[in-house]
Amino acid sequence: MHPFNDTHEQIRLTVRRFVEKHVLPYIREWEEAGEFPREIYQLAGDAGILGIGYDEKWGGIGAGDVLMKVAASEELMRSTSGGLVASLGSLDIALPPVAKWASPALKKTVVPAVLRGEKIAALAITEPSGGSDVASLKTRARKEGDHYVVNGSKTFITSGTRADYYTVAVRTGNEGHGGISLLMIERGTPGFTVGRKLQKMGWWCSDTAELFFQDCKVPASHLIGVENAGFIAIMSNFQMERLSLAIMAYMTAQLAYEEALRYVKEREAFGRKIAGFQVIRHKLVDMATRINIARQYTLTVAEKMQTKQNCVTEVSMAKNFVTETADFVTYEAVQIFGGMGYMRESVVERLFRDARILSIGGGTTEIMKEIIARQLGL
């Protein structure tokens, strides 16, 4: 049982073709190089893939259709590279606040260009001093006439080295969550510098960067939404990001499972296919079982989100359950591959590394549990 309609299936087909044609033949090279060509944004924009979930007047498609997004994300993950999906998808965490709450002029400059793949958008919340405790962020934006003067730094920012538009969380008011705002800061704004590209355990072809702001003057018109109301915007934005991370997680697991399923039918030990060992078969059964449950639950949450119901608890539960599934499944897949699973030439090696971030980014497992505990009335 799945909730997808014919249109979703057609879109799935297009995204699959896109991945087969433009990504799969090169992905290993890009992963090793730590970068994929910028042109991929443009190609994805041309295909309409980047526009999913946004209003047609900005060049978007399927606004409010969460399941369309799910179908496309599943297929993008068939690239076998979470890093590609994370960077190509950074607009989906950076752009929604702009599309919802920025001034009409700012929306018009930023949203269509990003959906066309001409410009890249990034979201910058996390700081060197902490990412979980968003309410304590330190980057300060002081209002001076018709400008904000921004001082501080951000880190671990996906698409950070290449982005053109940064949706940046800053402190405009008092301490705590009531003093936070979102500002749109453009690359090249005086006082804004992008640091080195960070080297990571996984997501190799995704660029991740530090950002520095030193007396950086940002037009006051670049405020996104109401001053000091940024915290709630950030938290509501997290819901979709967490759903996306859950999708990435069960797809990472699914790919690892498929690789393992193929391998056990080929590889021989002690004179027979390793699929002949009950221990191996049961591993695959456990993998398949967890993946099925993980995906079904995530799809249920996606359907609920589609009806605009509050699903903070469910999304957090999905993220935790599914990322744990991905860790389990990718671990077992590497195990099943034996020494070959440790070699960079096997896809499961990458999937194993890539899975690790999923329970950290977009809110850690522990933070998800804190959220769930609160919702449970604890």
């Binding site: 057609q10 087909l13 073709r17 044609k21 295909a47 309409g48 526009g51 498609i61």
Partner: protein, 249 residues
């Protein structure tokens, strides 16, 4: 000029086909279906003719169950203008398909009809040829290049031993080979726009064609499993085996 393209819903080329337990056919329940790859090439060629200003309208026709509309929608998303669905749950054989297509040709009056050279499910490689015979039109099968000029179409065909170029008077039938073009994928906005394009449904009876099968399938079985090969130590051993055991040289 109007171009008519025929497309077929078939089992997806990525799916490993399985024979039904009762040996009556291939198991299609819960199997992913898709447009026949050769038909995709046909659609692409027609759309390119339209983009070059040679064709003015691309009509796509599919014969099959209700679900075949998915493949028509795909063709519309790729750039076709109008769909015709001949709806039937019968497994229509090549001759009946050709007769149905002839009826559509009579109605639509296309200048050029493009079909895949065969469909990957039954691999008959018959429909285009039969349609040409029924219509009395010229045919160029296995096309790797199609150039329309005036009332003629020049087609390069892939034949054993090389390429053969033929010129046909329009209207004519062309069937596509793999190298004719590389089909595009539909952009998402075009998928949405395709929903608003006209799609007409008719029945075989409306077209006056009897689609009752003339062939009886006795049984369908899996191909024999290939046994594992062996490694030979030298060219001499290989030649000797080919000569004495396989008896092929």
């Amino acid at each position: 000029m109007k171009v008519l393209v025929a497309v077929k819903r078939v089992i997806d080329y990525n799916v490993k086909a399985r024979v039904k337990a009762d040996q009556t056919g291939v198991d299609l329940s819960n199997v992913k279906m898709a447009m026949n790859p050769f038909c995709e090439i046909a659609v692409e060629e027609a759309v390119r003719l339209k983009e070059r200003g040679v064709a003015t309208e691309v009509v796509v026709v599919s014969i099959g169950p209700k679900a075949a509309q998915e493949q028509i929608r795909t063709a519309l998303a790729l750039g076709a203008d109008k769909g015709v669905h001949v709806e039937t749950d019968v497994e229509v054989e090549a001759l009946a398909v050709a007769k149905l297509l002839k009826a559509v040709v009579e109605k639509e009056q296309p200048g050029l009809i493009i079909l895949g050279k065969q469909s990957i499910d039954t691999d008959n490689n018959q429909t285009g040829q039969m349609l040409a015979a029924l219509c009395g039109y010229g045919q160029a099968t296995f096309a790797s290049e199609v150039t329309v000029s005036g009332d003629k179409v020049e087609v390069t065909r892939e034949v054993d031993g090389g390429l053969r170029t033929v010129a046909l008077k329009l209207p004519a039938i062309v069937t596509t080979d793999l190298r004719l073009n590389e089909p595009r994928y539909a952009s998402l906005p075009n998928i949405m726009k395709a929903k608003k394009k006209p799609l007409e449904t008719v029945s075989p009876a409306d077209l006056g064609v009897d689609v009752t099968p003339r062939l009886k399938t006795l049984k369908v079985v899996e191909p024999a499993k290939r046994s594992a090969g062996i490694k030979v130590a030298s060219v001499e051993e290989l030649v000797s085996k080919l000569k004495n055991e396989a008896k092929v040289i």
